[in-house]
Symmetry: C2
Subunit: 231 residues, 2 copies
């Protein structure tokens, strides 16, 4: 599976996400007309990501946000209760995106070799699709307990795949927790340093394939140097 194929299956637009946010927060959002609300939420998130990327969420003032969205301060406060609330909405939504789609991928692949490959690629492709959400969540949630347990959760999925593979003789034995950590670090690299890969002219498919080959070189036991034809 390459990025194009992945996008067709799991791809959601920014508009879809904003609509989901609207539906999940109808009690606090004071706007009645769905289309108006969804369009403005999209503008707000875009602006938050843009400003936060440049100077961080804490340093972003509500007036910055007002200027970039073209909305007034009063309007903005019709969409969220306060700056803190806005942060929480974005983080919650970010985690929901990741969790939902990764679970779907897990269900679709079974043998450890294929599953590892699929989950590694899916995470990279997801972070490409929703890069601003991933970047924002990483940078602005680093110390929140919820973020740590999210990272733990994702890592355990990888660890379990590696263990299952060892049991079946497909993967070498080793410190699977440590290996899973390394995988996570490299996955994060893609959305944390996009500027670098733009400069080097490396595509998301090249990156994901390289990562998969790297892990296969380390994990696959000698006998099974060519696993299924996959894809």
């Amino acid at each position: 599976m390459d990025y194009r194929a992945f996008k067709k299956i799991y791809g959601a637009s920014n508009n879809d996400i904003s609509r989901e946010v609207y539906k999940n927060n109808q009690n606090t959002i004071q706007i009645k007309k769905e289309e108006t609300a969804v369009n403005n939420l999209e503008k707000i998130f875009d602006a938050v990501f843009h400003i936060s990327y440049k100077k961080g969420f804490q340093a972003m003032s509500m007036r910055d946000l007002s200027q970039r969205t073209g909305m007034s301060l009063g309007s903005l406060y019709a969409y969220f209760k306060g700056k803190k609330d806005l942060l929480e909405i974005i983080q919650t939504q970010g985690w929901m995106i990741i969790k939902k789609d990764l679970e779907q991928v897990l269900k679709a692949y079974d043998p450890p070799g294929e599953r590892l490959k699929a989950i590694i690629k899916a995470h990279v492709f997801l972070s490409e699709l929703f890069r601003p959400w991933f970047y924002f969540t990483f940078m602005e949630a680093r110390n929140i307990e919820a973020a740590k347990s999210m990272e733990d959760h994702n890592q355990k999925i990888l660890t379990q795949i590696l263990k299952a593979g060892e049991t079946q003789g497909v993967f070498k034995s080793g410190d699977h927790d440590l290996t899973a950590s390394m995988i996570k670090a490299m996955q994060q690299e893609w959305y944390l340093k996009r500027w670098k890969y733009k400069k080097l002219n490396i595509s998301v498919d090249q990156f994901a394939d390289h990562l998969v080959r790297l892990m296969e070189a380390f994990c696959l036991s000698q006998e099974s140097t060519k696993v299924g034809k996959g894809e």
Copy 2:
């Protein structure tokens, strides 16, 4: 070389760094007695790292810093011209630490196989020694051009080692830029997510060794599966 050995050779204390900062900024620092200045600078840096870790540098107020250092606001302004100036001092010093020590390591090892191993480990050990400096620089300088060119510089060192190794038949051919990026990502993992490794009870030596083995599995050409006895 393990962490203990590395520490003996390259280890500098926080006091040493503060003294270096004092000497590099004697024109702006208004304190004349060196010992007083150095001790207070150490206190200031400690406090900045602690507060910034919890809520980010932007969100740290000068009053926060005053409270945690036990120094008055007026005293603090005798050590730096303003909050912006303080940020720059820390970043500049952080980069000097990394650059100086990595260059020393480069000089000490020559064959690509040994050199790659040494530079990977040295970076991890350095980030363990000066973790607050590394973490702060990563988080608070992400968008500064200087930080990007620093990352580029470190990556090129790795790329060149990989290329030299390929020429000598020690390493496989491949996209060395991409491989170097992956190494950098995993090195950063160590200081960005220390809480994780504390929880998993993984030492810096275990981490560094695992990283080296992972890269050797991917990079070493078949014929040379056991390089020198190193260390």
